[in-house]
Amino acid sequence: MARISLKVDGAQVSDDVEPRMLLVQYLREKVGKTGTVVGCDTSNCGACTVHLDGRSVKSCNVLAVQADGHEVTTIEGLADTVEGDLHPVQEAFRECHGLQCGFCTPGMIMQSVDLLGDNPNPTEEEVRLGLEGNLCRCTGYHNIVKSVLHAAKGSADQGVSA
């Protein structure tokens, strides 16, 4: 067992974990962050994507011990509250019907937030390439891409009016 201390969605947490425990298992099983899900075992699907120190990672590809001393944000920590204030990307996914079953959605949103952080005004092609590591079986990606472009446009419009 190894002792780790880190910040998850703004809260300080500390646990003893097996060295082999994946970050995603730690988040789900120890911290109760079940909003982050596991969709495969080969790091292809991206459903488990979270932010580690502000950058997207597939949390099945990070050991819990590697997150020691770092800061993790999951889909549950992206918005200020669960009922009201959504992150603009969350809002865009709802507005543009960017989800159906919703299983890939936490990872899709976390990856999209990171993508827009790097490139606030992406082209459709750039969005598609930026989401290549996240699989969705429901939407055919059409409305996911639209959601990300919508979120980008929203923040651009806000920038103009501000």
Partner: protein
Amino acid sequence: MTATQERPALEIGKDRRRKEDQRLITGRTRWTDNITLPGMLHLAMVRSPFAHANITSIDTEAARTAPNVVGVFTGSDFGAEMGVCINAWPITPDQKTPNHAPMPSDRVAFAGEIVAVVVARTAAEARDAAELVDVEYDELPAALDLKKAAADEVLAHPDLGTNKSALWVFDSAQAGTGGNVDEAIEKARGDGIVIEREYRQQRLIPAFMEPRSVVVDPTGEQITMWSATQIPHILRFALAATTGVPESKIRVVAPDVGGGFGGKLQQTPEEMIAFAVARRLGKPAKYTETRSESLMAAHHGRDQWQKLTLSAEKDGTVTGLKVELLADLGSHVSLVGGGIPVLGAFMFNAIYKFPAYQFNCQTVLTNKTWTDAYRGAGRPEATYAIERLMDELAAEVGVDPLAIREQNWITHEEFPFTTVAGLEYDSGNYEAATEKAKAMFGYDELRAEQKQRRDAGDPVQLGLGISTFTEMCGLAPSRVLGSLDYGAGGWEHASVRMLATGKVEVVTGASAHGQGHETAFSQIVADRLGVAFEDVEVLHGDTQVAHKGLDTYGSRSLVVGGEALVKAADKVIEKAKPVAAHLLEASLDDIEFEAGRFSVRGTDQGMAIGEIATAVFAAHNLPDGMEPSIDSEATYDPVNFNFPHGTHLCAMEVDTETGETTMRKYVCVDDIGNIINPLIVSGQVHGGLVQGIAQALWEEAVYDDQGTLVSGSFVDYLLPTAADTISFETEHTTSPATTNTLGTKGVGEAGCIASTPAVVNAVVDAVRHLGVNDIQMPCTPERVWRAVNSGGDGGDTEGAAMPHFDESEPGQDSTEGAGA
């Protein structure tokens, strides 16, 4: 009294944002794997690495003594209480159906079959201990290739004496719905055109994003099973029917379910084993599969060889169609697996006026993962075959493929139209959908560009693909299912509860897993009862709440379940009317209901339906003898299937030097009748399109010569990504269905049914001038290149799988190239 509610604007047709999204985008979800219960144990499965073998011994000792292991069980540890996996659709009375034990103790019939289960306090400990279970096998020859299996060269189940499970035949001459197909073909051999082709429907994997998971809690009066399933009601029935536990002692809950596409339309061995283990130990138990287990052991789809003979007159007027299918069932005849190809039996003739038709389907057992429903289920296969054939006929006659279709299709004046397969198509307008699609696509301009590229000898050629599809959906009239020997009906149930505060709870027997029922069904009820969209709550997927239902598949939820809702809502109104008359002191005959308000004809007196609900709750002042309730329920059995149709046009660029294909444009105009929520419809269409496109271009479950699935992870099974796909142009024409109140038609499977032939037609069209008239799916660059350079259809995939470890080769001690 006066009405307090504003008359709401009509909800049906509005692009309402989905009610269910708030939870899903903030991570407040209840996937089965999120559920943990006090004292819950975890299961890990030990699976056969062999496609076909006798189990000679299972040594569980080391696993039993591993840390925190509570038990290790094999098939022989359980008796009849384990139950069996049922086949609900024996398609012929003499169908050969091997016994389907959830955990066999004597012989395994596919690689991935469960032979032992380890129970431990944590999932990781269960998985670790599963590695310690030592199973000895005596390998048997495996029936793998579908055609060889059909010839009984090797038997998948030796005691059955044959691999042939059932032969199902429809003949229009015998049925009295058309002429003799053999005569039509003979005549065409003399003075017309005969097109003979053989197409392969490759094996696909549904690959829903949420791996299957099941939790069983035996500690209540009812045993509760949570499962990532499309079919909580059918599952409960199957559990009760085969384990001896009374149905009333079982509760099945499908909480948030992450996609299904037919892949969760199953009663699984994993569910049966979890149920048995939890009962045996008296503790809650959970099993969640890994993705590799899911790809290997959750049921697969399609897998057919289609031999097709189409006859026509010299001018291209079709005269007959004969279909001979071989369908791979895999190791067992699963829940509805045998019936899947039969769902295509009535659809090969599609929108065309064939005077003679014959369908023959031989289902065949092999030692591969069992097959069952996958989005479209039978109709994509049929649509692919006929839409590919119509292109071939056009090429033979030398006309545009749209022209040959128009020459043969049912015109809009001819509806309702009884087809050669005996179905009555209620409505449609193929001309209108096609005209609209052509205009959106820029068909004539793209044809001109294609000609220019051909003339210039451009290495990148352009192909245009067409699919003017129809399908039958909305499963199904119970009487028809009965005539097809299906084991259940096709009705759906709904109830409407009028709460004291004026809110409305709607309970449906359909079980959504991403389709947005909460939203669309709220819109229907809001309009029908004249209440606010926000005031309606849709409940489903729990047999304690929705006690009656037949679940979600076959594009049935709206057209069958939605109609049940309408009927239940109408009963609420009928029950509320006498209350309104009583409270308004008017004659019942003078009470009118409109937009949520009961009013007295010719006066301004009225009451909102919510006020009636409150009055009925109090029950202080009701008509004499009236039961104090206006809650209502309805069970609706559809009178017909319904028949969405559409015109899909696809432009593909094909690099003739590399075989690479690139989708340039995809336009579709679907006629799905009246639309409840256009936003949800667009999502259904897009998702269906990509699954169909993926069959055409990318996906295939590949087995090696040992019967091992080599596409057993997302590294090898090619699910498309955002970077592989394009944005689509989708539109609609509207021919309302005449067989339901709302005029709706199913849309869940339409995109997936239509798109596959559109894409392959486009790829073939791009290189037809190079002597190519078929390319086997998936149209990989390698296969396209081979077809262009050496003719034929590009060949099978089997030979392209990574060769097996060969000890005689040098350098084989590394994992490189061994697929390890």
